[in-house]
């Protein structure tokens, strides 16, 4: 903004402003707000937006608002706010700067307005370039018969070896399964021993060796003998606990002897 342009307000300029104002009013509807109007005014200066005379533009705008008032055209508030601001800007630009006054200078305000106009213009150009691009569905195309992705749900079953073995074990323990018993050839159970001893105990009035209670066929083979001895001993403890027999052992590792407990029978 040179000093010259600021103070160069001739009669011709007034006429030009009037004409510009008339032109704006003719198609006021076509404008997108006051900035748009200013941009149009700026363009009439036919110079680079960076070099426009903001003052001249402000004067034209104010003339436009005045003219609108004369013609009793109702302007939106935006336009009036802009007019007030431009009037303020004009005074700042015309009067010598007051050093006591705070706030931005007229030059700064004008520069920002010029920037805003340039930015708006730039965005408009960018929008035009964007819309001029090849567009999907107009210049280039997507697949006409898209194949959608089908969702397939598959159920997969799983099991672990442990589960398999447990299942089998469960089956084998639930039922009396032959091979299972065969496998226990050499085991003489506590139950078996108890069973055998209950039948014999009534005849044991005197101390008898525990080993004499071992069943037939379990005394020769060491494995069988061991199993039968252990079971028989456990059974004798069980009977003693029930109060049916008495046990004694003269010394460590000496033969264990037992006899019927007389009192238990009497009661």
């Amino acid at each position: 903004m040179s000093e010259k342009t600021l103070f160069d307000t001739s009669k011709d300029q007034d006429v030009a402003d009037r004409l510009a104002a008339e032109a704006l009013i003719v198609d006021l509807d076509g404008y997108e707000g006051p900035l748009d109007v200013l941009l149009t005014l700026a363009r009439t200066q036919k110079v680079d937006l960076l070099k426009i005379s903001v003052l001249k533009m402000a004067q034209q705008y104010l003339a436009f608002v005045e003219r609108a008032k004369e013609l009793r055209i109702e302007l939106a508030a935006d336009y009036l706010v802009m007019a007030a601001w431009l009037a303020f800007l004009k005074s700042r630009l015309l009067l010598p700067p007051d050093p006591t006054e705070e706030g931005p200078s007229g030059e700064e305000l004008a520069a920002h307005l010029a920037f805003q106009l340039e930015r708006l213009q730039a965005m408009r150009n960018a929008a035009a370039k964007l819309m001029a691009r090849d567009q999907l569905g107009r210049n280039f195309f997507a697949r006409g018969i898209p194949e959608s992705v089908e969702r397939v749900k598959r159920v997969s079953y799983t099991a672990t070896l442990m589960e398999l073995m447990q299942a089998y074990s469960r089956l084998r323990t639930r039922d009396e399964f032959r091979p299972f018993v065969m496998d226990r050839d050499n085991v003489y159970t506590l139950e078996q021993a108890l069973e055998a001893m209950r039948g014999l105990i009534n005849f044991a009035g005197d101390w008898t060796d525990l080993t004499s209670y071992l069943p037939n066929g379990w005394t020769e083979d060491p494995v069988r003998r061991r199993a039968a001895t252990a079971a028989t001993f456990a059974a004798s403890l069980e009977l003693a606990k029930a109060g049916k027999v008495e046990l004694r052992q003269s010394d460590t590792f000496a033969p264990i002897q037992l006899r019927r407990k007389a009192s238990s029978d009497d009661r």
Binding site: G144, K153, Y168
Partner: protein, 216 residues
């Protein structure tokens, strides 16, 4: 359509038809973008005057041979379609993993330990009938298959486990399944009856003894 546009644009006959490579591009683009299969007639109507859509199509079709998509004929029309062997890409598979039912795993265990085994034998061991569904499931999973028929009256079918079964359980062969001894050592094959049956068996106070045994 064809005749009409030819009539309304008579000047076009004066132009040379585009080179075949261009025509191929056109056929490619039209087949790609069209929402439905396109006939040769449609192609010719849409392409510039003088084009030979049928010839161009042959080239395009050849170009897509062995590719991920093919040019296929559908009735009188043509379209681009996914190669049949890549159909799986058009499916998004979600896998839900479930545990085998007790019936299924017991049946599987019996087959594994006793193979080849007939259905009647499985039922005898399980003590309950085996549903068709259970065997079907195991067959479908390819963990069991039919073995040789038994040389007994009625020649019943037998079941055996498959390589897939062995792979899944990390076994070299079914013979590698832990035997009864190992099961017992692992505490899986306890000779004691399940707790609910104990009451019936003994009325005397053996409980103490059993407890003792358990802690030892």
């Amino acid at each position: 359509m064809t005749d009409e546009s030819a009539n309304t644009r008579p000047n076009e006959t004066l132009f040379e038809a585009p080179p075949m490579a261009e025509q191929e591009r056109m056929v490619e683009a039209i087949l790609f973008a069209s929402a439905e299969p396109v006939t040769i007639k449609d192609l010719n109507a849409r392409m510039p005057h003088g084009c030979d859509a049928a010839a161009a199509l042959v080239h395009v079709q050849k170009r897509y041979e062995g590719r991920g998509v093919h040019v296929v004929r559908i009735g009188e029309a043509w379209a681009i379609r996914t190669a049949a062997d890549l159909g799986f890409l058009m499916q998004k598979e979600t896998v839900e993993v479930r545990k085998l039912s007790r019936a299924a795993i017991e049946t599987l265990a019996i087959i594994a330990y006793h193979q080849p085994v007939t259905r009647a034998e499985i039922e005898e061991i399980r003590g309950v009938s085996v549903s068709r569904g259970t065997l079907d499931l195991l067959l479908e999973m390819e963990w069991i298959r039919f073995g040789r028929r038994k040389m007994t009256p009625g020649r019943p079918a037998t079941f055996v486990v498959t390589q897939g079964f062995l792979d899944h359980f990390g076994l070299e062969s079914a013979r590698d399944l832990p035997g009864l001894k190992e099961l017992r050592a692992a505490g899986l094959l306890d000779n004691r009856p399940p707790p609910d049956q104990q009451d019936e068996e003994d009325e005397e106070d053996q409980d103490d003894l059993f407890d003792e045994k358990e802690t030892s």
